[in-house]
Symmetry: C2
């Protein structure tokens, strides 16, 4: 049954933790303390433990790296990476996840990392210097996040509650790299049942008319979607 041909291996869980900070779409990267790829930036992650399934391991790593409360989490699995030579330490198959988080404090570096930083998505992808195949994982996370904003209400996961419609629109604009019509966006999200729930409060924002504030609604899917403009193939 256990043919010698059947690879015995370890599973790594890697996390693309995305956030919107400082008018910028950012990802949490660590600097690797140990070989291989010592000193290179990488996605946070770790090995699957004996008593865990991969999703639970991802939640554990996310908590360890960001101290994030798991209750509001959006965690989505990306394509498994298992090229036989992707890790020089031996056979390691990575199960990568995309996590969407509101603006968080910079976490402290853990045991496996000599540093942890929020890095703008553009520069993380441009330099293409990430350890292992993490550049490919990150590119997939970016595209998935952009697509999820079209078809789901997940954009609210980027916002701390309570948030304004302007905050939410800002998420769309930063993640998509576009601008949206404020009025039409406001109508769209308020008229989509379950997207956002009014708190009844308002919030002043320095200048301009105070905005009504909202909490996340219960709907997860967005019908009809909000399409990116222009449409990319």
């Amino acid at each position: 049954m256990a043919d010698r041909d059947h690879a015995l291996l370890r599973i790594a869980v890697d996390l693309a933790i995305l956030t919107v900070r400082d008018a910028d779409f950012q990802v949490l990267l660590i600097e690797r303390r140990n070989p291989p790829h010592q000193g290179l930036p990488a996605l946070p992650g770790g090995f699957l433990r004996d008593d865990e399934d991969p999703e639970r391991a991802a939640l554990r790593e996310l908590r360890e790296e960001t101290s994030l409360d798991a209750s509001n989490l959006i965690l989505e699995q990306l394509t498994v990476r298992g090229a036989p030579d992707r890790d020089p330490r031996g056979r390691v198959v990575s199960v990568p996840y995309m996590a969407i988080a509101p603006d968080l404090p910079i976490p402290t570096a853990g045991s496996d990392a000599s540093a942890a930083h929020w890095v703008s998505m553009a520069s993380a992808l441009r330099d293409a210097s990430l350890a292992f195949d993490h550049g490919h994982i990150l590119a997939e996370a970016l595209e998935l996040a952009r697509a999820r904003l079209e078809h789901t209400t997940v954009a609210t996961a980027f916002c701390h509650e309570p948030f304004t419609i302007g905050d939410l629109r800002h998420v769309y604009e930063v993640v998509w790299g576009t601008t949206l019509d404020a009025g039409n966006f406001s109508r769209k999200v308020t008229k989509t049942e379950g997207f956002i729930e009014a708190t009844g409060d308002r919030r002043a924002h320095g200048t301009g008319r105070p905005a009504a504030t909202y909490r996340r609604g219960t709907a997860r899917r967005l019908h009809p979607p909000i399409f990116r403009n222009p449409i990319e193939i």
Copy 2:
């Protein structure tokens, strides 16, 4: 580095191979020749080999199980299943794939299977008697296939070339369990650039006016989508 805590395990690749046959949405199931779950229906699959990545293993298994030419394949990864107790033989993490295939001959049973059959999706899910967690995998494959028809041109992968627009509409109707307006559907797919390409030929179908025949186009995404009706949340 290799903490004792880090699980050493095997990876299984499981395939939900979907097709439309006899006006019915069907999946390829094998009957397990060996324990565990001996005699139960299961998705075809096998263990990852030393020199393979998971996608390549899935393609190999697919060829072995169906003799299908890999060039026209639609293969999409589903959620990794890795509950520690999902396989009594030890720690096995499954990377499941959904494959979409045109109506194929019934494959011969392989070494690990005492039989292989096309089974209607409804009965495969209703009985809930599939081995391991394959029932959950299959349910996910069903929902993904339905969603993919909305947003991609993948429905053509269910058809042998050349096919008619009626063949393609039949795929939508069987997979979604709905009926569609033939005229509107025809306009939609012919006006969507790259969905289908006319061959110039026609095909008689017993009775009725002969239909123009088409090949698959090069487009993969469908803008705007074809939504299921009524919209389900």
